[in-house]
């Protein structure tokens, strides 16, 4: 008969914190944490003490005072009598505008360049290799300044459009390319335009519903319905019909030369274009490499298997390779989007008034509240970056490999 007894319990001794591997890592983590807290507290107290010695304090009251300066690109109503707070919001919106435009453009550019770089056509693949290497190896600030300088120097000024012997003319009488930016016609929404928008949105829903139906037919009945042409028809025909039936509720306001500048229409400023293109082309080169890596990560057997089923190369890419490649592409894509957002703070190089230009630039300078403004800026970029990560992580969850 045997008796099972527990081994005698070791009592805890203080030396075990160092000698026992079970506790050692905890000990060192605790020590590191304490040191970190002490250093931070020292820096914080040092800051507060020095500020007090200099007679300064941390205060956000300046946000409520009139800003006193003007901003050229205003997504919301703003004038020089608005508060610093409103100037900051204008800056935030400008940052978001350029970041959104650049993210979309960079993605399109990157996917095309990445796919084409793997092309069997020697010229196309080498051209894309040159694009990727040239753009990702030169700092984005240089690209911003190059594009802006080229626009400023090579495009005509508004003055050149004037008079009978004008050296420049508008494209289709609707678009003016000047060194101050591009002027395009602006839609004027008149009575009845709401109905038009509703019809347009309804046709988008119809396209989505039709494609869903087509897919269902394909999966359940095996009928391959045409998708492209009906979608195109749904996109255009109802809206165009409604436009004429409702008596043309949307008209265009064309830019026209008046005084010093073009008036009317929409002005896309040179600074926005330079920043947008530079960020998109630069980051597009990185995304192209991500896309290439993603595609090459898919086993060649997948392509061969799809080809054996009789799929055409275009469909192999769209239906077999890219959906699987997305799993590899999305995580680095998140950091490229974050890079675009953060790099947009280089806007001041071309005088684009983003949040760094308004809150971190003029407001900081005119009020002298450097610490307050920088803390707010950090908070803003952190919030935006975390939001972008969160959204893309949700998307990543959806496309990643489902283990069943």
């Amino acid at each position: 008969m045997t008796t099972l007894t527990d081994p005698p319990r070791e009592s805890f001794r203080l030396s075990m914190l160092i000698n026992d591997t079970r506790y050692r890592s905890l000990t060192f983590q605790a020590i590191a944490l304490v040191i970190l807290i002490v250093i931070m507290a020292y820096l914080g107290m040092n800051l507060v003490a020095n500020l007090a010695a200099a007679g300064l304090n941390i205060s956000y009251e300046f946000l409520g005072e009139p800003a006193g300066y003007d901003i050229n690109q205003r997504p919301i109503p703003y004038d020089s009598q608005s508060t610093h707070m409103r100037a900051s919001i204008v800056g935030i919106l400008n940052t978001l505008i350029v970041a959104f435009l650049a993210c979309v453009t960079a993605t399109i550019l990157g996917v095309f360049a990445g796919v084409l770089r793997l092309s069997k056509n020697w010229l196309v693949s080498k051209l894309m290799a040159v694009y990727v290497e040239a753009f990702r190896n030169v700092p984005v600030l240089i690209w911003i300044i190059i594009i802006f300088s080229i626009m400023t120097v090579s495009l005509p000024g508004p003055r050149d459009f004037r008079g009978d012997d004008a050296t420049a003319s508008m494209v289709f009488d609707a678009f003016a390319f000047t060194n101050r930016g591009v002027y395009t016609p602006k839609p004027i929404w008149e009575a009845g335009s709401t109905a038009l928008i509703v019809i347009f949105l309804a046709s988008l829903v119809a396209i989505w519903a039709y494609r869903r139906y087509a897919r269902k037919q394909l999966y359940e009945q095996g009928n391959l319905l045409p998708v492209f042409w009906p979608s195109l028809a749904l996109f255009f025909i109802p809206t165009i019909l409604a436009y004429y039936i409702l008596g043309r509720p949307v008209s265009l306001e064309y830019p026209a030369l008046q005084g010093f500048n073009f008036q009317g229409g929409i002005q896309i400023r040179g600074s926005l274009i330079a920043l947008w293109f530079a960020l998109a082309i630069y980051t597009g080169a990185f995304i192209a490499e991500n896309v290439r890596a993603g595609i090459q990560a898919i086993s060649k057997g997948q392509t061969e298997a799809a080809a054996a089923l009789g799929l055409r190369p275009g469909r192999i890419m769209n239906l077999v390779i890219l959906p699987q490649a997305l799993r590899v592409i999305i995580p680095p894509l998140i950091s490229q989007y974050l890079n675009i957002t953060k790099n947009s703070s280089l806007a001041i190089a071309v005088g684009y008034m983003d949040i760094t230009g308004t809150l971190g630039g003029i407001t900081l300078n005119q009020t002298g509240r450097a610490i307050e403004a920088i803390l707010l800026l950090m908070l803003f970029y952190l919030t935006i970056s975390l939001s972008i990560s969160a959204i893309l992580n949700v998307y990543n969850e959806r496309v990643k490999l489902k283990e069943r």
Binding site: L43, N50, A54, R159, R180, N261
Partner: protein
């Protein structure tokens, strides 16, 4: 995230740390050079010449202070600053004094905690436009695109001027004067605005200065002067009285030509006290008796510095105007050396 906060706090602590150190004079003497903040390049006021030596009207103030304190007019480290970086550079202790066409305003003096030691140029904000536009007054600039240096008082004056006159404009913010010049010449702005002296200096650098006119409106008061940090009054006194010495020397007729002779002693007690042959003014400042002599020997008195750098015989061609001595109808008035 933790790291970011850490660096932020570190940076903030460094800035604040600079504020706390007080004895700038000792620091300068120990270092052996004066760190002087200037513009990134404005011909006539502060710009490197073809040999890389900084020269100009503001540079002369830096050199005079260096000569008074260190006995060597070349013991100056010139640190180019932009409209945006200048105050941080001064507040953080990166520079000992700032001589950079900086307008003396209430909030800079009181709220930003700086000490303006005097005025070395009375200026006002103006506009420059190409002659071919046919504009004769700033009030005709309705709808114009105007280039303006960001982080300056000009930016605020500009907004006020257009708002008060109820006309519209489109501001194009730029960082440096050189960038503004490039944008203006390329025609991406119709007008460029900054202090009238700066406009004259900028125009002097153009290929065809005659094609551009400076509009008659002066839309603001811009008293420009050197400044130091709050909280070190001894250092502030040295910079203030060096500037005053340059101005007073012109009033008393002390020039680089006759200074050696006059410093032997004259029958004007004020000159004797200024040049150190009588009284103990230098000692009171914490310097020796010849401090003002050395400052004056660098480039002469205020009038000589003005004429050589920005006066009517230079490409910049500014008249003395408000910047004449009070005895000649101007505003320059140095307090007595007593």
């Amino acid at each position: 995230m933790k790291k970011t906060v850490f660096y932020g706090a570190l940076a903030a602590a460094t800035i604040a740390g600079g504020v706390a150190s007080a004895a700038t004079l000792d620091d300068v003497k120990a270092r052996g050079t004066l760190n002087c903040g200037v513009t990134t390049g404005l011909i006539g006021f502060a710009a490197p010449d073809s040999n890389g030596n900084w020269e100009g009207f503001d540079v002369a103030v830096c050199r005079a202070v260096a000569a008074a304190v260190l006995g060597d007019a070349n013991a100056v480290e010139f640190i180019p600053t932009t409209g945006k970086t200048r105050f941080t550079a001064l507040a953080s202790g990166e520079i000992d004094m700032l001589a950079r066409n900086t307008t003396w305003t209430f909030s800079r003096d009181v709220d930003l905690k700086f000490e303006f030691v005097g005025i070395n140029y009375y200026d006002g904000q103006g506009f420059i436009v190409p002659r071919e536009l046919g504009v004769t007054s700033a009030k005709e600039l309705d709808g114009a695109t105007v280039c303006v240096q960001t982080g300056t008082t000009t930016e605020l004056n500009l907004a006020d001027f257009f708002r008060i006159n109820n006309i519209s404009y489109e501001p194009v913010p730029i960082e440096t004067n050189a960038e503004g010049q490039q944008q203006y010449l390329a025609g991406s702005c119709d007008a460029y605005t900054t202090d009238a002296s700066g406009l004259a200096a900028t125009r002097a650098a153009f290929e065809n200065p005659g094609d551009h006119i400076i509009l008659p409106e002066i839309i603001s008061k811009e008293p420009l002067g050197p400044l130091v940090r709050h909280g070190d009054n001894e250092w502030g006194d040295i910079v203030r009285w060096t500037l005053n010495a340059l101005i007073a020397a012109e009033e008393y007729g002390v020039t680089s030509a006759n200074i050696d002779e006059l410093s032997q002693g004259t029958d004007n007690p004020e000159i004797n006290r200024l040049l150190g042959s009588a009284g103990t003014l230098g000692e009171m400042l914490g310097l020796d008796a010849e401090w003002a002599q050395r400052a004056l020997k660098v480039g002469g008195n205020y009038g000589e510095i003005f004429e050589r750098n920005i006066g009517e015989n230079t490409p910049i061609g500014l008249a003395r105007g408000l910047n004449a001595q009070w005895t000649e109808g101007g505003l320059l008035y140095a307090p007595p050396f007593r």
